[in-house]
């Protein structure tokens, strides 16, 4: 093996095993302890060495230590697996030691800041006396971060609507087998209408004795969900039509779909939002006013539809020709063939791709700040400038980062699971 080439001090021999083992562990520990003391107690136990080595002593000692314990077939199970995993060559050993040192260097201060020195109790800026993060800031502003400027007394309405929409979404999983065929119709047509009605009457209010809350006051994480939910639901049918259009034999249909897709894919979302904010009102008859939120949802829908179309086209292309030929030979027309044979199979293939698009969509929603809608990140920037709470931007961004990370990470894991589940071998 090539490993042996690097083993200058060959320690394969059984007699030497214990000595080199002890020496190796000793060297390794000296390296680690030296680094630890250097960083946290400002004492340098290896200061007797020449200065030029001093900076690298932990690394050198660690690598020497790992080199000594690199014994092939030592008969000790833990040592063997350690050698196999992090200690195959001297180069690998150096990398491993560097990473261990990096963890020692970075992790304790991070934990100190996040948890140990952080302040949790209290409800004003003065409660933050420790050197760590001031989570009081998040606690005080929590409602704003979740609901934006939505009045505190009315926030139950947002919660109720979200729960109701979730219930309606889950309802699709429990329908009797007889109605299974109508499921896609339910998700693409009925559910959006129900959700829109719910949001219009409960969150927006204005009737049934509920106070009217204008869309400018909506915000926070709930707005992130609303915008991405509606954009996803609307962009799906549109993307499907565009994907079919792009694969059509009719030149006008094909090239208009193609240019539509390429146009939206070629421009950044921020310019699309600029367009919806400043350019779009110029295109409407004088005096018509379309709500800012609706304009944003339409803009994001058009933008994402182009990406969805490309994902669905991938699914359509992955189907073997035989499926088309078989459907045609049964005498099916274009629409019957697509609705009953092609799309059900193609859509199953593209579910992970759609999930990825949705993930990108959620990560893109903070951009709506350019038109003045403040979801979570926008609210953070607003809270940061509040004179009573200056200097806590770090806490805010870390908080938002954790929330977005949890959402996106769990979704990406779920989509990977789906990918395995729907993998059909052909």
């Amino acid at each position: 093996m090539s490993i042996n080439k690097f083993n200058i001090l060959k320690s394969n021999h059984h007699k030497n095993r214990n000595i080199s083992l002890i020496l190796g562990v000793l060297f390794f520990s000296v390296g680690i302890i030296d680094f630890y003391l250097n960083n946290y107690f400002n004492t340098n136990i290896t200061s007797f060495l020449p200065r030029i080595f001093n900076f690298f002593t932990p690394l050198i000692f660690g690598v020497i230590g790992l080199h000594l314990i690199r014994i092939e077939f030592s008969g000790i199970k833990i040592l063997d697996s350690l050698n196999k995993n992090i200690n195959t060559t001297n180069f690998n050993a150096a990398l491993s030691v560097s990473i261990i040192l990096l963890i020692i260097f970075g992790l304790p201060p991070l934990l100190n800041w996040l948890i140990i020195d952080a302040n949790f109790a209290g409800d004003s800026k003065e409660a933050c006396t420790g050197g760590g993060a001031c989570w009081v800031y998040i606690k005080v502003w929590f409602n704003r971060f979740m609901y934006g400027m939505y009045p505190n007394a009315e926030q139950w309405r947002v919660n109720v609507t979200f729960i109701a929409v979730l219930v309606f979404m889950a309802a699709g999983f429990f329908v009797p087998a007889k109605l299974k065929n109508y499921l896609s119709l339910y998700y693409t047509l009925i559910l959006p209408i129900i959700s829109f009605i719910l949001i219009y009457f409960i969150i927006s209010g204005g009737s049934f004795g509920l106070v009217w809350v204008e869309t400018g006051a909506w915000g926070g994480l709930s707005l992130t969900f609303m915008v991405s939910f509606f954009s996803l639901i609307f962009c799906f049918p549109l993307g499907m039509m565009l994907a079919l259009g792009r694969r059509s034999d009719l030149p006008i249909v094909k090239y208009s779909s193609l240019s539509f897709i390429e146009f939206w894919r070629g421009v950044p979302l921020i310019t699309v939002l600029f367009m919806s904010a400043v350019m779009f009102p110029m295109f409407l008859p004088d005096g018509t006013y379309v709500d800012k939120l609706i304009r944003v949802v339409v803009a994001i829908t058009l933008f994402e539809a182009a990406y969805t179309a490309e994902v669905i086209r991938g699914g359509l292309q992955a189907l073997p020709r035989g499926q088309y030929d078989a459907a045609k030979s049964l005498g099916m027309g274009y629409w019957r063939m697509h609705v009953f044979v092609i799309l059900p199979q193609a859509l199953k293939l593209v579910i992970p791709g759609i999930a990825n698009t949705f993930l990108a969509l959620i990560k893109d929603t903070p951009l709506i700040f350019v038109v003045g809608l403040l979801e979570l990140v926008g609210m953070l920037n607003l809270a940061k400038t509040n004179p009573k709470w200056l200097g806590f931007s770090m806490e805010g961004y870390v908080f938002a980062g954790i929330i977005f990370w949890i959402i996106c990470y769990s979704m990406s894991k779920y989509s990977q699971k789906l990918e395995l589940k729907y993998k059909t071998d052909r």
Binding site: I86, N92, G266, F274, F283, K363
Partner: protein, 381 residues
């Protein structure tokens, strides 16, 4: 049968015409009401606003067209730096992801999962408003590498001062041309005689030696202007000389690089994993050295898988650089679709030009990619 083909097309056409017609009509009416006339004449008028950071000469007396150019160059600068750094980082992390070393593998995976799942805008804000704001003031900044200062106002580094830069630059281009022909010659020679020339080392020697020669005989000279701190008043300081890199550029480049590199790393991993073990074994069994296996067998095949999605990421990076507007880095969107539009009120023309610019970049790169893909595609018989 014929009707079935023509009718949908006519309907599509009609729909498009109706929508466009409706919009154009309204736009004309609205602009008329505001006393504006559609046209690009405003580009020649004086912009009269300042831009913080510019690669070319610019001040308020220049035209809007010049301001557009400044913005475009700033966008391209961020995209260019970001693409290079993201490629390097992505390639390293992608290879590290497949390392036999458990710690390296997990660190790479942690990095990818961490930076990929946080919105880019949030990352930009984090670097700009939280991390870079924690840097020291000008007067307290420690000196890095005996020459640079990392301060809250940006990074101050030595600036190169060239004499006869054009001679130097021309030599570099000449060196590249020579290398190009030399590589072709070496390849032909190998095909004819079976002899391999040390192409890489000779190319490197040409690339380094030729430009260096100009220092001796071409009259080229390079000196550095170091940043020196100067006290302006009781509490305000400034740096004289040197090159100032604004914190907006640093934050933006950092965020774009770290974010995009995660995607590139995954592409690299997929590319390397996509090559069958048999390829490596077959190559080794005909007597190629490990380096040759990597260079002649693995890389050409892996690149075929890696390059198309990576180009997509380059495009994404370029488009994402428009988020610069959020931290006031003067890129195309901020300068042109922001300030210039506020001043002129010409929403349609300016948003149109901005979109058309991005579209041109995207479509240009796409076309280039398609051409490249066709060239490297495996020619099946």
């Amino acid at each position: 049968m014929k009707l079935k083909k023509i009718l949908p097309q006519i309907l599509t056409l009609l729909f498009i015409i109706l929508v466009f017609g409706f919009f154009t009509m309204n736009a004309q009416e609205n602009m008329g009401a505001r006393g504006l006339e559609f046209g690009f004449g405003f580009l020649k008028t004086q912009a009269s606003f300042d831009i913080q950071f510019s690669l070319i000469d610019y001040d308020g007396s220049h035209s809007y067209a010049r301001a557009y150019l400044v913005g475009l160059l700033n966008t391209l600068l961020v995209a260019f730096i970001g693409i290079i750094l993201a490629t390097l980082l992505g390639a390293i992390v992608g290879v590290a992801r497949l390392s036999p070393n458990y710690l390296i593998r997990k660190t790479a995976a942690f990095y990818i999962e961490f930076f990929r799942n946080i919105p880019l805008l949030l990352q930009i804000f984090f670097w700009y408003f939280a991390a870079l704001r924690a840097l020291p003031m000008l007067e307290d900044a420690p000196m890095l590498l005996n020459s640079s200062f990392m301060t809250i106002k940006g990074l101050y580094t030595p600036a190169p001062i060239w004499t006869n830069f054009d001679v130097f630059f021309t030599t570099i281009i000449i060196a590249m041309i020579i290398i190009f022909f030399f590589t072709r010659y070496a390849k032909r020679k190998q095909e004819q005689e079976g002899k391999r020339l040390p192409v890489f080392f000779i190319s490197l020697a040409i690339f380094i030696c030729l430009p260096l020669l100009t220092f001796l005989i071409g009259g080229v000279d390079l000196s550095w202007s170091y940043p020196v701190i100067r006290q302006m008043s009781q509490s305000s300081y400034t740096f004289d000389g040197g090159l100032k890199i604004p914190p907006e550029l640093i934050a933006l480049t950092l965020a774009l690089t770290l974010y995009t590199a995660t995607f590139i790393a995954e592409n690299v991993r997929a590319g390397i994993q996509g090559i069958g073990k048999g390829q490596k074994e077959a190559a080794a069994s005909i007597g190629l050295t490990p380096n040759q296996v990597l260079k002649l067998v693995i890389m050409p095949q892996a690149l075929r898988i890696i390059i198309p999605p990576t180009t997509n990421q380059y495009l994404n990076l370029t488009k994402n650089s428009s988020l610069a507007a959020a931290i006031a880095y003067p890129d195309l969107v901020l300068v042109f679709a922001g300030t210039a539009m506020m001043q002129t009120g010409r929403a349609i023309e300016i948003v149109g030009i901005t979109m058309a610019t991005y579209l041109t970049i995207s479509l240009g790169i796409s076309l280039l990619m398609n051409w490249y893909n066709k060239r490297i595609a495996i020619k099946e018989k």
